[in-house]
Structure formats: C-alpha cells, structure tokens
Symmetry: C2
Amino acid sequence: MASSSTSNSPCAACKFLRRKCLPGCIFAPYFPPEEPQKFANVHKIFGASNVSKLLNEIMPHQREDAVNSLAYEAEARMKDPVYGCVGAISVLQRQVMRLQKELDATNADLMRFTSNDMSNSSFSVFPGQYGARMGHGGGSFDHNSGFSLPYASPWNNNPTGGSSEEGGDGTM
Amino acid sequence: MASSSTSNSPCAACKFLRRKCLPGCIFAPYFPPEEPQKFANVHKIFGASNVSKLLNEIMPHQREDAVNSLAYEAEARMKDPVYGCVGAISVLQRQVMRLQKELDATNADLMRFTSNDMSNSSFSVFPGQYGARMGHGGGSFDHNSGFSLPYASPWNNNPTGGSSEEGGDGTM
C-alpha cells in the first residue's frame, strides 16, 4: 500500500534530491522515507525526471504498481548491468520450453500406455481424459511464450548464467 | 552485430541529441543511423546520460547485449507504462506454474498406470524411466521460478492483461 504523503519527514525522493517535500509531491506516496534505497535505485537507472513524467502520464491508482515495477527493473539492472530483468525473462522462457518438452514427452508416454492397455487394463480410462490435458498443455502452446528477445539468450553468452536458472536470481 | 562507428553519417544518438558524432562515440556502434527509434525509446525511458554511464561501466564486448536489453525494456515500458517488461515476467511465471502443475498431474497419471500395469502390461517399463522425468520436472522444481514480484501479479489487477498470457505481448 502507498504510504501517506502527509508524513512530517520528507519522502525518500525529496530527501535524496535535497528539496522541500511539498503537499501533493508526486513521489511521496510511493517513496516513503523509510525506504531510501528504493528511490536511489530508480533514480540511478531511470532518472527522477523520467519517473516523474511517467507517473504523471498514468492514472493515480496505477502509480504504486508502476513504481514497484520500476524499482524491480532498477534493482535487476543494478545486479546485472548487461541484461537486467530481461535476463529473468530469458531464464523463464527456457523453463517454459523445458517444461513443455517434458509435458509433451510425458503425455506421449501416457498415450502409449492408454493405447496399449485400453482393452486389458484394470485401470479404467475415460475417453478424452488425457487428450484434454494434452490439448491444454500441448499443441496449442506457444513455445516462445510470445516474448522474443532481440539477441541470443544471455545464458548462451554468459558462462555463469546457467546457475541462475536454478533460482540464482531469487533475491532479485 | 554492432554496426561500424566509422560510418560517415552521425549515429542515431548523436543525430537525436543534435551533436557531432566524433570517433570513439560510445553510442555509435550500437545505435546506427538507420534505427532512430531504438535510441529514441532508450533515451525516453532511461535517459542518454544514464545509458552512457552504464555502457562505460561494462566491458566493451558486453555493450551490444546491454543496449539491446535496454531497448527491449524501453519498448516494453512504452507499450505498458505501468508494468513494462515486468509484466512479461509475471506472464511467464504463470505459464511456468501452469505447466508444472500439468506435468505433475500427468506424471501422477503415468505412475498410476505403471503401478497398476507393471505386472500384466505388454508394454515393458524400465525402472526409473518415468521416475527420472518426474524427478527432473517435478518435486525439485521451484514453482515461483526464483523471480518474486514486489506486488500482486499485474494480470490480477489489470482486466485487459489476461489476454497477454496467450501471446498478446508477442510484438514486444
């Protein structure tokens, strides 16, 4: 929840920028004084002026989510100056592709069982029971998830990147 | 591949900033004159000065990937000012969780078949054949992929967001 802008102490943004925090400060509700690093990160990566412009261009009820997503991107960029949170997208795309491949293979095994054992198995199979799941997770699935990166996957270029797939960026 | 900085025409950055493009321009190899929008987007979201600082802080061989990831983030933020490419992370996390759930359920079905039919099936089962796949895609998997968002999933708040899961952001 956005903090109150009626606090006596200046917001983290005005304190960082060494300016008076006036009533109606665009930053105050989203950059409380007790979270100085949040504004410092966003300022370093995007710049206070760009963030102010962006907040003024969106609806007030969307500003808290916008600030939090900017803070997330800024922190990711500071931790990984080359790929930022685009690295996270690449890792997730690889997880999606790996899981889809495993699901397709498991469904194929299951289909072999059902076709082999449909007649003599003590396990009763309802028509479409597995086809339905296969249809959901299978053919109709977009393997690249609709997010195409403008360059080779970071983890193909970055020898340390592989470990991130196992959650190395978990603190991001 | 980064374009040559020895081109006669100024790079897209120097042209945009109305300055002379001198030899050794930090932007020239990554912002060719034929791609003016790439720099315009990055400048609008991050600011030329922040991008220049970032490029100077990383190794030359990493700069092209850094510029491309910045351009990707900038374009995503212009298309979705509230969530930017963090929205893509949220969509991918949901796909990973859905696929993992489907894989777990399919593996459970397969296990029921193997336990029911191991003895009387004409289909030969090799020990660990399915357990291995289950172990890979199953229990050891981190369901939140290690990327925790600092707020509720955008698509829970944004009524139009749901469609993006089916690749609505594919042009991003």
